[in-house]
Each structure stands twice: as structure tokens, then as C-alpha cells.
């Protein structure tokens, strides 16, 4: 039956077969639902919106039975956040961005870089970093030490700016 419906939809059935399939389809609620579903699926696959928003009853009922998921909405990234990231990268040109993150990747650069011990290393007589331990945020310390403006500190301020701008 399913195969017949599918073939009918695709216009692959001869006149007599088509007549029989239509009669069968119209005589069965289950076959009507399948017929409707095949068309919806076909529409969606062709990139059209489904011709009818009405879904078969059991699908609607199943959706109703689904629990409502309440999840915190991810806040859209503000212009500031993007600027902050970019500006942090800029500040890092004065500093040591990737100092720890790029450990072991600079051995083939300048001899001076190779000599400089740029990778974070456990100091003698101390245990190694525990698995999953985060490297400390050296850039924040560096900015504070060099008294470089750290744009990341403006996030809250910029939220106000964004609010003001939309008023």
C-alpha cells in the first residue's frame, strides 16, 4: 500500500493501477494520513513550505505531549564583545597573547624565540598541573601590570551603551 501511494504521487502508476490506489487511499484514514505526509515531506524536500500547517492528529497530539523545555536563552554577542575580543588581540601585540596557549609551537621560529622558554612549565620540585587545569589568564595580568587599557572591562558599560543606542 505504501509503495502504491508513493508511486501514485510520483505519477508512475498506469491508469488502472492509479484508479485502484486512489480508491484504496480514500477508503482508509491511515492511507489518507500517509498521502498527506508524503506531500508535506515532498514539499519540504523541494524547499517549499508545507502546503498545509495542519499536521495529522497523532503528530499534533505527540507534539502536545512533549514537555516544554525551559532553557536560558543565549544572549546575542554585543558589538562591544566583538570589539573587546579584537581589541584584546591588538593589545596582545604589545604583550604575550598565546603565551601559554601556543606552547611548543614556536620552536621553529627565530633563535631568540627558541631560546626563550615560552611554554608554561612546572617548576622543579612541584607537581604537574592537574588534568584539565586552566592556564592562568596571563594577558589580564599583563594588561594590569603594563597599565594598558583592557577593553574587556567595558562589557557592562557597553551593555548600557547598546541600550541607550536602541532607545
Amino acid at each position: 500500500m505504501t509503495q502504491e501511494l508513493s508511486s501514485l504521487m510520483d505519477g508512475e502508476l498506469a491508469a488502472g493501477e492509479a484508479q485502484r490506489a486512489i480508491a484504496t487511499c480514500c477508503g482508509s484514514e491511515e492511507a489518507k494520513v500517509d498521502w498527506h505526509l508524503y506531500h508535506v515531506i515532498g514539499d519540504v524536500m523541494r524547499g517549499h513550505s508545507p502546503r498545509s500547517l495542519a499536521l495529522p492528529n497523532d503528530v499534533v497530539e505527540a507534539l502536545k505531549a512533549q514537555p516544554t523545555v525551559l532553557a536560558p536563552r543565549r544572549l546575542p554577542q554585543t558589538t562591544f564583545a566583538r570589539v573587546a575580543i579584537a581589541a584584546a588581540a591588538s593589545v596582545a601585540t604589545v604583550g604575550v597573547v598565546g603565551w601559554i596557549g601556543t606552547q611548543g609551537t614556536r620552536e621553529d621560529t627565530a633563535p631568540m624565540a627558541a631560546r626563550s622558554n615560552s611554554a608554561i612549565q612546572p617548576v622543579a620540585n612541584t607537581v604537574t598541573l592537574p588534568q584539565g587545569a586552566q592556564a592562568p589568564d596571563v594577558q589580564a595580568y599583563l594588561n594590569a601590570h603594563r597599565q594598558l587599557p583592557s577593553p574587556e572591562q567595558y562589557r557592562t558599560v557597553n551593555n548600557r551603551a547598546a541600550t541607550a543606542a536602541t532607545r
Binding site: 558589538t79 562591544f80 604589545v94 604575550v96 615560552s118 608554561i120 598541573l129 551603551a161
Partner: protein
């Protein structure tokens, strides 16, 4: 005629190179960074990181005006009048009011007096070289112990302004370098040049003065009981760092030339092991102390950072 002679004498005295006294050269270099008007671009190299900065500096009356514009990456600008710093972020439409805690921006080299520097460094005069078309005398600062790096500054003969500075590690390898790549010295540096290029737009920007509040010296309750020889505390602050829930205490120590910051904060997420890294002249050392995390960052050898970090204690 007498008046002309007197003026000429004063002018000569102000410009004359201070003979062969290394400390006098150092003193003049320190004064020139503040008192001389200049505009130019310098390149800073630390380890394998390089950045280019445009700087304009002028004395107007007794006020020191300066505009600093990093030329790499997204635009921002620092306009300073004495210790008041205005940091402009055009993309974020934000101007931040900050306060300079210590004089740390090139060509300012010293944060202490030449006499204090001489206690930790042997100051010698090197050769005279031609740099950017100027006659320039090298001043060498050799450490008297292993707790600091050697440094050299090249002081312009007429004004004393530092044109180049370099830091050497204990193997005499250069690890940090500042050099002007173009420079104009003299009163032709006008005050309008000191204004932010964003000045006209800034009225519509958000102004944030919290950083200025954070740079006020406070009692953090922490102290370094065994500071490395020659290092003295120059500032004690409590500041907000990105990504931190709690304020971070920052104690800045300096020997008059090199400086390091000691950061104390809650040890969250908990770290168990000490760790260190070096990049160029900059050293970083982190030391967990139970529920407290001590981090030291500065232009000092690793042993200096370790000694400071390992003697952090609650102030009695």
C-alpha cells in the same frame, strides 16, 4: 647684550650634555621623557612579539600632555594629561578614565630616582652613536646581582631623550627592545596634536570612570615579607580583572628601573601546582597558597618573581 648672554648661557646649560657622569646622564634621560616635546613612532619588541606605537608628547606650562596610539590591530588611543589617562575605544564608543599608577610607557625608563637605581645597577657610559639622525649616547645599567636584567638606554645628546632601550638576559642576549623609527624633537609639537582624534565624537560615547577609582592606593591586607633586594612597593591596588568574580589585589614593586606586579586573588578554580613561564623580558610565576592564588608578572628574572611570590603573606 648682557641679557642676551644670560639667555644664551641658560639655553646652553639646558642643552649641554652632562660631561662624563653616568648618573647625570641617567637623571637627564629621566627628565627628558617628561620635559621634552617630541612626536614620533616607536617599535617595541618583546620575545617574538612586536608592536608599533605613535606617540606625541608636549609640556604645556607645567602640564604634561601625551597621546599614544597603537598602530596595530583595532584602533584605540590613550590621551594623558599628567597622571589622568583617557582611553578611547572608537568601536565600543567608550572612553575610559584611568589613572597612571607608575610611569611605565617608553621613552620613560625610570620610575625611581637615579640614586635608587644606582643602588641596584652599576651605571656606565657607553659609546656615542648616530641614531635616526641624532647623536645618541649609550647608558649601560649593569645589575649588581642576579635579581634583575641588564639594560641599556641610548640618550639623545642635545636633549637627553631616550631613543632606544634594550634589556638583556643573564646570557647577554637581547630579550626586549624599544626603538624610535621616526622622531621629531622640539616645540613644533603643538598642543592640538595632543587631542584625541575622536574628540569631536566623544560626547555621544559612554564614559567609564571605574578604572580611575580602582587605581587609588588601598590596603589590600597582603604584603611581600621577603621582597628581592632593591625592590620596593610603589603601589597597592584592588582592581577588577576580566573574567574574575572577585577583585584582585595588585602590589607593584620596582627597583627604580624594572618592576613586577604581585597579584593575589581567590584560588578558583583551584590550582595545585606552581608554574612559570618567560617571554622576552617578561616573567610569569603562579603559586597556589591553599585558597589563595599568588601570581607575579614583571620584567625580572624568574628567581626574582619566585622569591616575591613565595613570601606573600597576610599583613600582620
Amino acid at each position: 647684550m648682557i641679557r642676551f648672554a644670560a639667555v644664551a648661557l641658560v639655553a646652553c646649560a639646558a642643552q649641554a650634555a652632562p660631561g662624563e657622569d653616568p648618573l647625570a646622564w641617567l637623571q637627564r634621560a629621566a627628565q627628558a621623557a617628561r620635559g621634552v616635546s617630541y612626536a614620533g613612532t616607536f617599535v617595541h619588541t618583546n620575545g617574538d612579539h612586536t608592536s608599533t606605537v605613535r606617540i606625541t608628547h608636549a609640556m604645556v606650562g607645567n602640564d604634561e600632555h601625551e597621546r599614544i596610539e597603537p598602530l596595530d590591530g583595532p584602533a584605540y588611543e590613550i590621551v594623558r594629561k599628567n597622571d589622568e589617562m583617557f582611553c578611547y575605544f572608537p568601536d565600543a564608543k567608550t572612553v575610559r578614565l584611568d589613572r597612571r599608577v607608575t610611569a611605565r610607557f617608553f621613552p620613560t625608563i625610570l620610575s625611581g630616582t637615579p640614586t635608587a637605581v644606582a643602588a641596584s645597577y652599576e651605571v656606565k657610559l657607553g659609546p656615542t652613536e648616530r641614531v635616526l639622525g641624532y647623536e645618541c649616547r649609550w647608558i649601560r645599567l649593569e645589575p649588581r646581582d642576579a635579581m634583575r636584567h641588564a639594560q641599556s638606554v641610548c640618550s639623545e645628546v642635545q636633549t637627553g631623550l631616550t631613543l632606544r632601550a634594550r634589556t638583556l638576559n643573564d646570557k647577554r642576549q637581547p630579550v626586549e627592545h624599544y626603538t624610535f623609527t621616526d622622531l621629531k624633537i622640539g616645540p613644533q609639537v603643538a598642543r592640538p596634536d595632543m587631542k584625541s582624534i575622536f574628540e569631536a565624537r566623544v560626547k555621544r560615547w559612554i564614559s567609564d570612570s571605574q578604572p580611575r577609582e580602582e587605581t587609588k592606593t588601598v590596603d589590600t591586607g597582603w604584603t611581600v615579607t621577603n621582597a628581592p633586594a632593591g625592590f620596593f612597593k610603589v603601589a597597592e591596588l584592588r582592581r577588577t580583572l576580566p573574567g574574575r568574580e572577585h577583585p584582585v589585589s595588585q602590589l607593584i614593586y620596582s627597583d627604580g628601573l624594572a618592576s613586577m606586579s604581585v597579584f593575589v586573588e581567590p584560588n578558583k578554580p583551584a590550582r595545585a601546582a606552581e608554574a612559570s613561564s618567560e617571554d622576552g623580558a617578561t616573567t610569569f610565576f603562579v603559586r597556589p597558597m591553599g585558597e589563595t592564588l599568588v601570581s607575579v608578572l614583571g620584567e625580572v628574572p624568574i628567581a626574582t618573581a619566585q622569591q616575591a611570590a613565595r613570601s606573600v603573606a597576610r599583613r600582620p
